[in-house]
Amino acid sequence: MRDRSRLELFDQALTRLKAREPAKDILSSLPADVELAEMVYLAANLHTTTAVPSSTAQAASKQGMLQAARQTAKAGRGMGFGLWLRAPQFVLVLVVLIASLTISGLVSAQALPGQPLYGIKRSMETLQLAMTRDSSGKLQLEEVLDARRINEVIRLRSMGTESHVEFAGWLQQNEQGEWSVQGVPLITNERSPLWNVLLNGSYVQVTGNIQAEGVQVQSLELRLFTLDGQLQQVDNGSWQINGIPLEISEHTQLFTPLMNGTDVRASAIRLSNSEYLLLSLSMRNPAKSQTHQVEGIQKTISIRPTITAISGDNNKRVPVLELTIITTVGVDSTSDDGYEQDQDKFQETMVVEGKPDPIMQPADTNIPLEPPELEETEKGQKEERVTRTPEAED
C-alpha cells in the first residue's frame, strides 16, 4: 500500500479512535494492511490516558495564579506611584548636581595657581578644548586661555605670591634689553636658559616662578600649534586651513601635496594674531587616502649662532644664526609587492643673520620645536635681519 493512502487511512482511524471506537472494529472496515494495523493498535494504546486533574490541585493552582497576578498588579501600581514620588527627588538631585558644577566652575574661574580649585579650572578648560572640534574655534579658545594665564600671572605678582606658572604670549625686548611676555617681565638666573635675540617678537611658551621683579624663567620655547581641517586655496594663491591663513616657506615639510579640500593636520608657529607659519603638513586620515602614509616624524632644530659671516657692503661682522633641521621620516607605503617601510633622513641648514646683542650673549640653545620666523639667506645676497613683531598685543 502506498504511504500516502496509508496516511489518509491512519488519519481516519485516529478520528474513530478519538470517538472511542475499538481498534478491532476500525481495522475490520479498512483494507487489510499489517503495517497500518500495527500503527492503529499502537495509537489505540497511546490514547489510554483519560485522567482528569484533581480539583484540589486545580483550585490551588488557580489561587496561586490569582495571588501572583495581584502581587504583580500591586507592584506595578507601587512602581508607578513610587516613580511619581521619586520624580521630585531626581529633579532635586539633578538641580543640585548642575548647580554644584556651575558654582564650582564659577568659583574655580577665579582660582589661581597653587589654590585648591585651580585643578578644577584647568580640567574644565582642558575638557572645553577637547570638545572644540573646529580648528578655528580651538585657536580662539587657546587665545582666550593664554590671556587667562597671563592674567593669572599679573594677579599673582600683584598679590606678591610666589608660584610656579606657565603662560604664553608674544616675546618682546625693550630698548634697555629687558625681556617680557605680554608685559610680564622675564628675569633669568644661572639656571635659566638663554634664548636668542632673534626670538624677539615670537609667540612663546614660558614656564617659571613668580618673583617680585617678574617671572624667573625655567624654560622658554616657541609655541607650536596643531591645526586640523580642510586645506583651501584662496583667490590670492595663499593657503588656509579652515579659514586660518597660512604662510608656507620652502622649508615647510609637505608630506601631502597641497590640494584643495584635502583633510590635513598641520603644525605651525604663530606669526601674528591671525597668521601662522606652516612647519609641516600631513594627511589627517591617511587610511582613507591613496597617498602614502607618513608617520614617525622627528624634528630636531639646533640653533648654532656663529660670528663668521660677513654681510652688507661695509664688511661688518655680524652674528649669523645657523639652523640645522634634521628630520627623520618613516614612510610607510603599500605597493603591489606588499608592505614596505623606509626611513630617510633629511638635513637642511638655514643661515640667518641676527643683529649684535649687547645685552645677552647668545649661546647654543636647543629648541625642541620648529624654527622661528626666520628668512633664509643666500650666498652673495645682501642679508637682512627679519624680525616679526606682533601686530597687536592681547
Binding site: F10, A19, M39, L46, T49, G64, M65, T72
Partner: protein, 191 residues
C-alpha cells in the same frame, strides 16, 4: 473529512480574556485558568507519570503566563499556543533535569489512571507506560505532536496552530511519529 472536537474557547474569546488579564482583571485571569488547566494538566500527565510533578508544572505554566503578561516585549498572540508551547518546554526541561540527576523518581508513580473511564484496562495502562518511556527517544516535534494529539485535547487545527504548521504537515508528522514509535517498540519487543 475529520470531525474534530470543537474548541471550548474560541480564539476571539481568548483575545478578549488576554486583554482583560493584561489590565489585571482577576475574573479574566480566573477564566483563563479554568479553561486551560485541564488541557495543560492532561498534556503534562501524558508525558510524566508523577502526579505531583504534573501539578507543579501546570501551576508553573500559569505563573509564567502572569509574568509574561507584564512584559512589554514578546506579547502573546495566541493564548492556547503560548500555553502549550511553554508547557512543552517545561516538560522537556523536566526530562533534561532527570537525565542530569540520573535518578528515577518512582515516588508518586502513578495514580494517573485512577479516574480512567470504564473501558480502560490495567493492561492498556501498562502498555501505555511502556510506550511513554519510548516517547523520549522521538524527535522534539514528534513528541509534541503525539502529546498534543493523543492527550485527547487538541484537534488537528489546534495542533497546527500551536506548532505553527499546516494541518497537512501535522497529519504527516503524527503519522511519522507513530511509525517511529512502532519501530522503537518492535526493537524493544513491545509490539
Amino acid at each position: 473529512m475529520l470531525s474534530e472536537e470543537k474548541s471550548a474557547s474560541p480564539e476571539t474569546e481568548d483575545h478578549q480574556l488576554l486583554e482583560k488579564a493584561r489590565q489585571n482583571d482577576m475574573q479574566a485571569i480566573a477564566m483563563i485558568h479554568d479553561r486551560y488547566y485541564p488541557k495543560i494538566w492532561g498534556f503534562i500527565c501524558y508525558r510524566i507519570s508523577n502526579q505531583q510533578v504534573c501539578e507543579d508544572i501546570a501551576s508553573d505554566v500559569f505563573l509564567r503566563l502572569i509574568a509574561q503578561l507584564k512584559k512589554r516585549k514578546g506579547r502573546i498572540d495566541h493564548l492556547g499556543g503560548w500555553l502549550m508551547g511553554t508547557t512543552h518546554h517545561l516538560v522537556m526541561d523536566h526530562y533534561r533535569d532527570l537525565y542530569k540527576n540520573s535518578h528515577s523518581d518512582l515516588e508518586g508513580h502513578s495514580n494517573l489512571h485512577s479516574n480512567e473511564s470504564t473501558h480502560a484496562t490495567v493492561e492498556d495502562s501498562i502498555q501505555f507506560e511502556l510506550l511513554r518511556d519510548l516517547l523520549i527517544e522521538l524527535t522534539d516535534e514528534q513528541q509534541l505532536v503525539l502529546n498534543l494529539r493523543f492527550s485527547r485535547q487538541f484537534s488537528l487545527e489546534e495542533t497546527a496552530l500551536v506548532m505553527k504548521r499546516s494541518v497537512g504537515a501535522v497529519k504527516l508528522l503524527q503519522y511519522r511519529a507513530v511509525k517511529s514509535l512502532q519501530k522503537l517498540a518492535k526493537k524493544r519487543g513491545l509490539s
